[in-house]
Structure formats: structure tokens, C-alpha cells
Symmetry: C2
Subunit: 353 residues, 2 copies
Amino acid sequence: MTKLTINSVKNSKIDHVNFNELPFGKVFTDHMFSCDYVNGEWVNPTISEYGPISLDPSARVFHYGQAVFEGMKAYKDENDDIFLFRPEDNFDRINKSAHRLAIPEFPKEFFFEGLEQLLLLEKEWIKTGKGNSLYIRPFVIATQPAISASPAEEYKFMIICSPAKSYYAGEVRVIFAEEYSRSANGGVGYAKAAGNYGAQFYPTSLAHKEGYQQIIWTDANTHEYLEEAGTMNIFFRVNDTLITAPTSDRILDGITRKSVLQLAKDNNIATEVRPVSVAEIKEAANNGSLKEIFGSGTAAVINPILGFKHGDFKFELPALTDNNYSSFFKKALNDIQYNLAEDKHQWRHKVTK
Amino acid sequence: MTKLTINSVKNSKIDHVNFNELPFGKVFTDHMFSCDYVNGEWVNPTISEYGPISLDPSARVFHYGQAVFEGMKAYKDENDDIFLFRPEDNFDRINKSAHRLAIPEFPKEFFFEGLEQLLLLEKEWIKTGKGNSLYIRPFVIATQPAISASPAEEYKFMIICSPAKSYYAGEVRVIFAEEYSRSANGGVGYAKAAGNYGAQFYPTSLAHKEGYQQIIWTDANTHEYLEEAGTMNIFFRVNDTLITAPTSDRILDGITRKSVLQLAKDNNIATEVRPVSVAEIKEAANNGSLKEIFGSGTAAVINPILGFKHGDFKFELPALTDNNYSSFFKKALNDIQYNLAEDKHQWRHKVTK
Ligand SMILES: Cc1ncc(COP(=O)(O)O)c(C=O)c1O
Ligand SMILES: Cc1ncc(COP(=O)(O)O)c(C=O)c1O
């Protein structure tokens, strides 16, 4: 394994950043990690100043979307210790995504060495206080200059970081998809493949025009089963039971999702992981048993959904009660992430020199 | 409309290119066309020396696959006149693709002005003689530096060109897909969206391992209907009838495909445009009525398929007879493309100063 090269910047740009007003994903830290795949191996792991990269216009990523990514966060506790949340799962998932996109897998040592050294260099960018975090974006792109429609032989793996405030997506109401779809059986929906995201922008813009912020995707075959949102898995609370769709080759295996399911178990909250039909959710809405809908994902942690629409059917969720699940899970997850609660399942990963 | 800026190179690199050995899509001409979308409009249409472009690592194309492309060819006749084949259809299609990916449409004048000026500059790269052509790749990528999962506000439109020899894909045998799929109902399969292509690389690599070069994709719901190949539409000749699947939101509306259908009509060849089931093609194979399978697309024009596999069922197509359709359509199309035959439908577009 080649040694990590670190070229740190002389002057940080951190003083020019207003940490009270941070739009999501627009401000980046001083450094980035990169590593190249050439001649069958990953070489040149390097941390250097954040800045533009130069690619041939024929690079495969531009033409064939051979690209995958991850989304994770670093948190700081009151002692200025830095923590990641289940980072091994992100590592495993980026390689699962890479495999499906015919991208060579990335070595574990490089990933963690690059990631942790980068975080230590950027430690001033991670602010203490619940809600503050550093959003971390590992990604891999096919860089080889050739437009033949076949897997590239050259890639670039990078990690860039963006400081984030507590993510408030605003009031979120959703449309249950009836016409457009996100993924096919036997497709790449379970991978964090770049192309899955751009494909959602247009249908989502149509939802915006109707006053809805997001879409809950349904199965492409029948549009009868609720699957997931654009960047969140989805939970339904019917009476006191928490219901969510099983993962499949169409649905991303969300790390927040599986953490919620585990915390539910730990707290004796009944869960059902099974196909969730649009019909049953509409019926539960009508008969008053539908108490909550929320999304789960790294960016927002837990995002309560205020209402939904399906065809002519429109529904506003009831106001959240004191013992609502979304606040409970958000607090439980945040407490573990910020080192404020016991970490029964070893989800916290402390970043050390 | 901003005026096109042309910065032509002093010294062409053409003398270093071996035109007898041209791998597909690896050698590019001296110039490229580019144009930027900023502040709500397309600006700076420029032809300049072919070379790397510089992008922020957070550019949306790397993360969310917001990118579309086209594939077209320029041909030269014996008088050194340059022709395009139905270029308006490529223009319309890139904008149809762009629309689905929430990318702003590109103005027609810019497209044709940029394309034709580029071709005139590169005219030495287009060699006379049937089979020789210049492959043209227009594409649009989201360049805005921000990783929020929403449509970018900045884009780059480019055209790059690669000289091509007569495309011989080698012997092509295909697998009819049973597990993996290319696109979903309500998805982006009909668009030339970058993500559609990278998603096929892995299943195709599995086919390679079994000795098959390509996959014919089937509908994702049932895998019972044959749709298209990775970069070609597919035709079946059963007795003397030519059958192909209708276009849909899952299938690319190929320009070669619709030209074949028109030429069939002009030549009194019976055609059926309707769902084509795997079962009927296997039955036709068994009873001897399946005479030919071929793919149609800009790169190969017409590509005969020699055999197929579906589960345990393997079939070798019969040897092509003198009056085979694939040679007939290939010649008919090439004759129009190279200005060797009457152009009844005004498909040829002469490139003039
Ligand atoms: C499509 C999709 N679903 C769900 C999620 C939530 O996954 P996680 O909880 O691992 O962030 C994400 C975001 O990562 C996503 O992109
Ligand atoms: C998916 C797909 N199908 C079919 C085709 C053939 O289309 P055309 O004949 O316009 O080149 C292409 C290539 O452009 C393609 O990418």
C-alpha cells in the first residue's frame, strides 16, 4: 500500500465562513482526499488543498454515469473528540455500489486512513453543539478518456467535506408516485449510483409545482407499494406499530433506517418490515390509525412528513403528540452520535491520531 | 444570441493518427465546441483546442449523474462534401433527454452553428470511403459546484469528435435478460441519460464471462418481452416479416430504427411494430421461421446477431442468405449517408460554410 501524502494548506479559509448560515453542500473545507485507479491498482492516496480537478471531456463519468457516492457525518462532543456513526457500513456500501457499477472496489485501509487524516486536519470545521456536523462525501468517478460504452480502466476516488447545521428541510409534504419511478427490478436502485439521483429531479420539480417537496417512490410495476423517498427511507406509524418496506434491489439499505429498527427493538416498539401498500396507508389515514410518517437518512437524521397526496386523495398528518416517534428516534440517534448516550451497539467510531 | 468564438489550433495532430487502426472513441480531433449555461442562459459558444476541462469536485455531474448525450456521424462523399444523417432528430432527442433530466434545453442555432463550424474545421479528419466517418458526441453535464440533490443551475454543453473506421463489433451473440434490467416504467430509459449506460456495464460483464457480447434487455416487470440492446434497437426477421418493439418510456427512439422501418416500407418489406415476446422468438427459432436478428444504431448502423441464449435455451441463427435483411438495410442506409443514393426523405444534411 502506497503511503498517504499530505499537503496541508498554509492558510485556512475557515475565517471567511459564516457558520450560522450554512446552505447544505455549498461550502467545502480546506482539503480533499483523492486516490487514483490506474493499471489495476489504487495509487497516490493524497490529501491536498480543496480545488478543481481536470478531466478529459471524454472521461466516462460524463457520458456513462459510471459513478457512485456515499454520505456520512462527523460529530464533535464537548471534549472536542470527533466521532463517526457506523462508518464501516458506509465503506461496505460504497463498495457494494461500486460493484454494481463495474467500478473496482476501494481498499479499506485507504478509506479509513484518508478519511481520518482528513477529519483531523479539518477538526476546526466540526463545531460542537447538537445539530452541527461535518457532512462527508466520498465518491468515485470513471476518469478514463474514451467514450466506448464499457467499464473504464481509470477512476478517481475522492472525499470532500462540507460543514452542516442542523438540517431543517422545512415543512415536508409528499406525493406518492403514480406515474414516474425511481428504479426497476434488476436495476441499480439499491446502489448509491449517481444516475439514480439526477433521474428524480424532473418528477420532483413537478411535485414542487403542486406544493409538495418530495416524492415517495412506489414500485415501478404497479405503483401500489410505497418504497422510499429521494434520499430517505420511509417509516409509517400506524397506531403504535412502526412499518417500513423491506430493502430490495430497488431500495437503498439506509444506515439510519436500520439504526431506527434496532432502536425500536431496544425500546420495545413494535416494528413490521414488509411491503407497505398505498391502499392500507390511505385506509389508516381515513380511520385515524395513521399517526406519523417520517423519513430517515444521514442528512436529516429523521424528517417528519406533514402530509401526503395520492391522486385526488390529500391527507394532513395529525399534530405530533408528546410521545411521537420521530422526535424520539431523532433524539436517540443524535445522543449516540454526539457521545451523549450509551452506545450499546458500538455504532460510534472515535477518530484518533 | 452570443457570437461563436473560434480559436483554431496552429498545428493539427492529425499526422500522428493512424487512420488504419482506430479503436472506437479513443482518438479525438483537434477542436471541441463548448457552451456554458449560467444565470439562466447559454453563453460563450466557443470552439477551441481539444483538451481537459476543469470542474469543482462538487460538480453535480459527479454526484447525481445529471448528464445526457447524443451520438451522430459525419460522412464524406467523393467530392469531399460533408453530410450528416438526420441531425435534427439528434438535436430534438438531446433536448428530450435534457428535459427528463431537468437540464435546460439547448438552442437550435447554437447546436447547428457550433456543430457545422466544428466539422468544417475538422474536415481533414473525415476520410472518404464507405465505412469511414467522424463520430460526433454532443453532451451536457451539470457543472455547478454544490452537492444538494436538486437540479443544477450551471451546465456545460460540449461537442467532441472521434474519427471512426467501419464499425465491426466482432461476432455478436446475446443473452436475453432474465434477472437484470435496464429501465423502469416511468423511468429514464427513453432518454440518453448517462446513468442508463454505466448501469449496464456489470450485467454485460457477466454476459462476457459466458461468451456473449451483449444483452437484449427485457421488460423489468416480467422479463417476457424483448426491448433493446445497450446501444442498439433490435429487429427480428420471422419468415419475411421484420418485427421490432414499439418505443416507450423504457426504450430509446433510435434514429436508425425509424429509418429501417421507413426503408422497409419503401421496399415493400412487411413490418410489425409490437411487443415481441421471448416465447415467440424461441418458438420461431425452434420451427425454423426465425431468419435474422439484428441491432440498429448510429455506431454500427446494422449489426447482425449470430446467436442468443435464454436460460438453458441456446440458439445459433442460420447463415445469412443472399437476400438477407441486415446487409440490405446496411447498404441502403450507407448509400444515403455517403451520398450514393437518392435521398427520398431528405435525411441527408449537407454541411456548408
Ligand atoms: C435513495 C436513498 N435512500 C435512503 C437514504 C438514507 O440512507 P442513510 O440512512 O444511510 O443515509 C439515502 C441517503 O443516503 C438515499 O440516497
Ligand atoms: C439505448 C440505445 N438504444 C438504441 C440506440 C440507437 O439509436 P440511434 O439509431 O439513434 O443511434 C442507441 C444509440 O444511440 C442507444 O444508446
